[in-house]
């Protein structure tokens, strides 16, 4: 067992974990943060994407021991305490950027990461920025639209 201390969705957590424990399994099974789903075992699908120190990572391809001392944000930590949604979440609903919703947590967090780096992306940049997140329902059309809508909203809000 290895001891880790991690801030998850704003709460500091300590745990003794088996080294082989994947971050996503720690989140889901030990912390009960089941908002982060698992879609594959080859780090292709991106359903399990979370932010580690603000950057998107696939939590199925990171060991829990590797995030010791870091800050993890899941979809459940993106909505602030008063229930106010992140602009990306709002835009996904407004633009119908989700259907079954399984890829959605990863897609939203990958989009948050994308917009933190590029606040005014072109359609091409949005598509390239989401290349690591697979969706089987939407054909991506409305996801791309949602990210562009969120970008405009966030730019308006900060300027």
């Amino acid at each position: 067992m290895t001891h880790i201390g991690v801030t998850v969705d704003g709460t500091h957590r300590h745990a003794d974990v088996e080294p082989r424990l994947l971050l996503v399994h720690w989140l889901r099974e030990d912390l009960g943060l089941v908002g982060t789903p698992i879609g594959c075992d080859t780090s292709n699908c991106g359903a399990c994407t979370v932010l580690v120190d603000g950057r998107s990572v696939k939590s199925c391809s990171v060991l829990a021991v590797q995030v010791d001392g870091k800050e993890v944000t899941t979809i459940q930590g993106l909505t602030v305490e008063d229930g106010e949604w992140h602009p990306v979440q709002k835009a996904f609903k407004e633009c119908h950027g989700l259907q079954c919703g399984y890829c959605t947590p990863g897609m939203v967090l990958a989009s948050v990461d994308l917009l933190s780096e590029n606040p005014d992306p072109t359609e091409e940049e949005i598509r390239q920025g989401l290349e690591g997140n697979l969706c089987r329902c939407t054909g991506y059309h409305n996801i791309v639209k949602a990210v562009a809508t969120a970008a405009a909203e966030m730019r308006g809000g900060t300027s």
Partner: protein, 284 residues
Amino acid sequence: MIPSSFDYVKASTVDEAVAALTAAGEDAKVLGGGQSLLPVLRLRLNSPSVLVDVSEVDEMRQVTDEGSALLVGAAVTTYEVMHHDLVTAHVPLLAQTAALVADPAIRHRGTFGGSCTHADPSGDMPTVARVLDAEFVVAGPGGRRTVPAADFFVDFFTTAVGPDEVLVAVRLPKMGGWGSHYEKFHRTAQAWAIVGVAAAVRVEGGTIAEARVALTNMGATPIRAASVEAALTGGPATAEAIAAAAESAADGTSPTSDTHADAEFRRHLARVLTKRAVTKAAGL
């Protein structure tokens, strides 16, 4: 989905990492970002007894300007390679290629050194190292040694790094005066390269003074297209001359056949992509 059990050692220095590997014996693996290793462990294609985590070894996280070369730490992430000022200024080919590796989330975790030591024949970073004649700084129980790129990549998923050794950094020559381009050919954006071509040329007064071409996935290791380089060198920097030189790109290669392409098609692609990569590198 769930790896076999292993012990975990987090190293804070290169010496600590080497000591941990030496203690563990043949069964240990170095863990960088884990983006190549973890899928392998999850599918239980490999079951090491110890993982030695080098991802936060300070020395391996640096990019250092050595004057005529950059020393890029093995634990520098692909994402950091893409954006590092020294890399974009002096080895733009590396930054351009890094942006084509996998996807953003994987680039955030995956490391330059990890890509090289994983030595997947369809990996992009090894080809860049090979085309630039990079030097690999390897630390082991007996101290440090420098391995030239030509000797570093040994076989499929096999490098010159021994089981008790750690790749510390990669030395890449600065490319002032060179044009370069990496042409990656794959079926979907996140897929591995079917074939890739790294080209670097130095054009003087309409003539190609020096040319370097290396190929991804045209054999067990990244290989230099020596006959293309010879045909280009001293010749005119024209589309016709480049096209003619590229015809020999597949000479001496031994590509595999898999679900994405067979060997014959890979040879064809090597010729077409070499033409395109060199043309772009030459600024035409």
